[in-house]
């Protein structure tokens, strides 16, 4: 009977202590001004209540080790926490009460630290500080609706006696942890969440912009490389184009010397020859200037641009190649073509690519059929005039199956071709707010054309 009374007394005493602790915790929950102060108070109250020697709160980190980081503590053994390594991951350090409580969302306890294998990584240190049992309760408040307020952390308690945490104790501390979760959530408000979402959106935008800039730079570099490659392919023809005026200059100069050596120099002829020399020199110089422009510059410079001028810039470079393949060239350039906003070098590159493709397409067709037409027209649309430049050939054309792939990067039908020309050309025209497309001709070959909005 007295034993029973003693047991009742003990239970009553424990309940009184818990009630007092709960009352103090409730006050702390209501009065807390900051999260850290609240967590520290709760730990201090629990230790002061006498049931536990050490109380600490840990939060889950998203680092590689999935660390549970102590953020508040009280009691005997704070230095134990400084060395404590615990995890919420599926690794060995995550198999203790803390890790299990986080993963399962339910309390996890060890009745006897000396023997429970779950606690082996921390056993020696814990026993040295006199801990015999422990409990980890997740900081979660489950709601009737099925939702939950989850702080992603645990309240952790260490007692000096084995089996200190019975069913009632676990229920008591689980309830307390839920209250802490609610209180902390209220304290945090939505400050971090709101700011994080705002900053995340800005960061995503900044990253997108950075990626776009990097892509643009890569495109420009690739475009430059492609230009250099194309000019390399044209080297023999260009050399011929430059050689012609140089040879004429040589011949005219010799003639001048001859005329000047006469007793009565034929000055009219000398004047005529010198005029021809100047003209040929300018012609060679212009070719070299155009080549240099195409070779050296890789950054984009937008400005007012006359597409007829662009065509006239490019034709001397491709002209020798056109003639070498016996292709007849027709030009149909509409007067008063609207000027466009663009990068002259990039637009030259597009046209150069279309002309070279046309030459290539006619390499294997009978010479009689080799005919190329370059057209520049104006299309009056609702949003204003557009300039259209078309290159029509009578070559091998393309099949219906090939059509969707023509502008894909690395797609080529040319042996040894890179398959970048049309892809780059399309990205250039897209960047000029225009359109580049291809159609098959009714008889032979294909027409590639681009349209650009005229300047207002």
């Amino acid at each position: 009977m007295s034993q029973q009374r003693e047991a009742y007394g003990e239970t009553l005493g424990r309940l009184r202590r818990r009630l007092r602790t709960l009352h103090q915790c409730t006050n702390a929950l209501l009065q807390a001004e900051s999260e850290q102060a609240l967590l520290r108070s709760i730990c201090e109250i629990l230790v002061a209540g006498g049931e536990v020697r050490l109380a600490w709160v840990g939060y889950c980190e998203d680092d590689a080790e999935k660390t549970v980081r102590p953020v508040a503590q009280a009691g005997d053994g704070v230095e134990y926490l400084e060395r404590l390594k615990t995890s919420w991951g599926e690794i060995e350090l995550g198999q203790g009460p803390v890790g299990v409580a986080v993963r399962t969302g339910h309390a996890c306890w060890v009745d006897d630290i000396r023997t429970n294998p779950r606690f082996s990584p921390w056993r020696a240190a814990a026993l040295a500080r006199g801990y015999a049992s422990c409990l980890a309760v997740p900081l979660i408040a489950y709601e009737a609706s099925g939702g939950a307020v989850d702080l992603r952390g645990t309240l952790n308690l260490y007692a000096a006696e084995c089996s200190a945490f019975d069913e009632h104790a676990i229920e008591h501390y689980t309830g307390l942890a839920a209250s802490v979760a609610y209180a902390v959530t209220a304290l945090r408000g939505h400050l971090a969440e709101d700011l994080t979402s705002g900053v995340t959106a800005l960061r995503a935008r900044a990253e997108r912009k950075r990626a776009e800039e990097a892509l643009q730079q890569a495109r420009e570099e690739l475009a430059h490389v492609t230009r250099v490659t194309t000019l390399g392919e044209l080297a023999a023809s260009i050399a011929h184009e430059i050689n012609q005026p140089l040879a004429a200059i040589g011949a005219d100069a010799n003639a001048c010397l001859h005329w000047l050596a006469a007793d009565r120099p034929d000055l009219d002829s000398v004047r005529g020859a010198l005029t021809a020399i100047v003209k040929d020199g300018l012609r060679a110089g212009e070719v070299i200037t155009r080549i240099r422009a195409l070779l050296t510059r890789s950054s984009v410079a937008r400005g007012r641009c006359d597409l007829t001028g662009v065509i006239r810039d490019v034709l001397p470079l491709v002209g020798p190649e056109i003639r070498r393949h016996g292709i007849s060239l027709e030009m149909s350039l509409a007067p008063n073509l609207p000027q466009v906003t663009g990068d002259r070098i990039q637009l030259q590159q597009v046209l150069l690519n279309l002309l070279m493709n046309a030459v290539e397409a006619m390499r294997e067709v009978p010479p009689v059929r080799r005919r190329m037409v370059v057209r520049a027209t104006t299309d009056h649309r609702d949003d204003g005039p557009w300039a259209i430049v078309a290159v029509e050939d009578a070559g091998v054309g393309f099949s219906q199956a090939e059509a969707p792939r023509l502008f894909e990067a690395f797609y080529t039908t040319k042996p040894g071709g890179l398959g970048m020309g049309l892809s780059i050309s399309r990205s250039i025209i897209d960047n000029h707010r225009g359109r580049l497309w291809a159609t098959t001709n009714s008889d032979h070959g294909a027409t590639f054309q681009f349209a650009l909005p005229g300047m207002p």
């Binding site: 850290q36 939060y59 702080l151 969440e193 700011l195 994080t196 705002g198 800005l202 960061r203």
Partner: protein, 354 residues
Amino acid sequence: MLPTEPIGSIPRPAALIEGVQGFRAGRISQPELTALYDAAVQDTIRRLEATGSPVITDGEQAKHSFATYSIHGLENLSPDGVPISFADGHIRNLPRLTGGPFRYKTPADVYLEIAQRYAQVPLKQAVVSASALSLLYPQGGLRGYSREEYLDALIDEQEGEIRRCLKKGAHVVQMDFTEGRLSIKLDPTRRLLRSFIDLNNLVLERFSAEERKRIGVHTCPGADRHSTHSADVDYAELLPSLFELQATSFYVQLASEPHRQRVLKLIREHAKATQRIFVGVIDPLDPRVETAEEIRDRVLEAAEYIPPDRLGTTDDCGFAPFSDDTSRTRGTAFDKIRARVAGTALASTVLGVD
């Protein structure tokens, strides 16, 4: 000599504090107030130069506070924003934004220009961080002006402010990031801190590596009256994230830390090799003026953890970040700065730094 720089603020002269009160009460005119500001800046610069400090500030004489100088006087603000509680129980409230659009009213380069009229030695310019001003936006949101729009405008404003300061010849632009440590108190999960770091990096990333060599970040637990707002937050919580900021110089409060060597060890572990650390060797909250020898020893202690070519000295904090703070005197501030310069010179000799 090792580089040595002040943080920013110096207590305002009594005449200026009275003048500000007089202006609010309508007793003095705007030109009279401007003349008082001008005189205070001129006197502060003269006295800072007299300390031998190789780099000085304008003492923030004309700033309302280190945090609100750029927005003070805006009409779309209300005074009841986020409260900052200090350990002695007093509270400073940040303003609250009441509507968009957001623009600075008086950016820091305006103060810099005025100071440049009088300074003979290089001037550094402090600016408030974007993260501090991010707290202006109310939690409930604003109709017709989203948080994202606000942050976008804030970043633009701060970029412009820093860029103009650099262009006008500031020796260095120092971003005041006192809310870093405070954020951990507000949110121990450190999500808020991570957002702060990310937000400030969005500003810093707009500058080239060359420009960032002239941009620094200051951290401290806040110093107002005789108290701080977050000295109880463990530095270990802040420092790893702090050094993720894309700045070159870091001005770290240290003199008033109870365990300086532990903090220095953390700095050594987390600071990047390209970052220079200006350690705080003066405690503005301590009314006693440190001796040059004390400063020397603090520098030498720091040099055990940070190589001299990445080490500098500074004050733990400004001497009066809020303009109405009279808890310290101007004389003490100048004496302390003089001690810092002298102590840094002594340490430089020991370390063999010319």
